[in-house]
Amino acid sequence: MNWENYRHAIDSISFSADFQDRTKALLRRTVCGEQKKEKYAMKHKKFWRAAVAAACAAVLTVSAYAAVRWLTPAQVADYLEEPGIAEAFSKEDAVLMDETRDVGEYKVHLLGTASGQGLSVLNPDTERSHTYVVLAVERHDGSPVTMDEMTNYQLLPMVAGQDDNIAAELFNQRSVTYFELDGMVYWLWDMETLEKYADRTAYLAFYQGIAPSMFTMAEDGSFSVREDYTDPCALFTLS
């Protein structure tokens, strides 16, 4: 066999000359394009973390939270060898919750949020405060969920009335780590900026697809899932 022929054949494949330019433009459009909306009146709210804490405190007790069968956010961070984040989830100002949404064949549980600076080992940042969100995904029928199944799902933070710049900022500053344990998949999301938008309603979207075109923004800046959107999709309100 002549591997030189093989290399030559591969070298002779003709791709579009503008592939990289087109792709970069597409990526830029994806970040901003779906968010192109008019500017809406902003909905002023008090600091979102405090609001979430108050709402959760009203409906959840520590014992009830501990009784559920999945890992706590601190345990999720521990499992990912992120002791700083685990500690943040153990502090009083962490927000522990169990907001559940049906998303296709899954139940998605929003388990908590915590914030702090320089907490992550994997994604260290000592200059800015980050917000961490933990979710757990289980299947309705109780059969195990695998990480491979999650590859088509996305998480996206949004804030009410966001303009293109904020959307791009939120879009660019997210990162995710996830793992599978005992038939559930746990997600740890790391976002930089939500505290900056404490005066707005903050959302976390979990959906199948690539662009967040499944959401619509009302005149007051609030988001909802488009009525004609039929693919799996959920929108959590964080405050």
Binding site: W3, R7, A9, I13, F15, F19, T23
Partner: protein
């Protein structure tokens, strides 16, 4: 960051996708979808090797999905490629033959014989033991010899029989 990744990895990922797909246009779609996936749900990469490995695996998955979609439509892949875009030159029989191999062989042959990675390096990139990569390289070569021998006419290596 994403623009750096597009610049740095596009050429390699496009070639890699072509080990599964006969149409360059399909390969471009596969690689674009990988980049879109990356910005839609960004992954924290431990280091440059992790980043490269993720991109390689994601590209192989997407190329495999596109190929399966074409096969599910009961279109022979070559016909599907004609619809999707221009074919590769008929004389590139070696590339065609590699594409006829089961998918687990095509990627390791490409990474070894084109990109020059060792079995150990390929193992890290694909998440496989180096010994498995070695076995796949050997079996891939063996199967390739057989294909080149038995399917020489269909691959365009020899003039058509009349």
């Amino acid at each position: 960051m994403i623009e750096r990744i597009v610049t740095e990895y596009s050429p390699m990922l496009l070639r890699l996708a072509c080990t599964r797909l006969s149409s360059p246009a399909d390969a471009e779609d596969a690689v674009q979808e990988v980049f879109l996936r990356l910005i839609s749900s960004p992954v924290v990469f431990r280091d440059a090797e992790h980043e490269k490995a993720w991109l390689i695996r994601a590209t192989l998955h997407r190329a495999g999905d596109i190929r399966r979609r074409a096969e599910r439509k009961n279109l022979p892949l070559e016909d599907a490629a004609e619809i999707a875009g221009p074919e590769l030159p008929e004389t590139d029989y070696m590339l065609k033959a590699v594409r006829l191999l089961p998918k687990k062989y095509g990627a390791v042959l490409y990474l070894h014989y084109y990109e020059g990675y060792s079995a150990k390096e390929i193992g890290k990139l694909l998440g496989l033991p180096a010994s498995t990569v070695g076995t796949r390289l050997a079996r891939g070569r063996e199967r390739l010899r057989k294909i080149l021998k038995e399917d020489a006419y269909e691959l365009g290596k020899l003039p058509a029989r009349h």
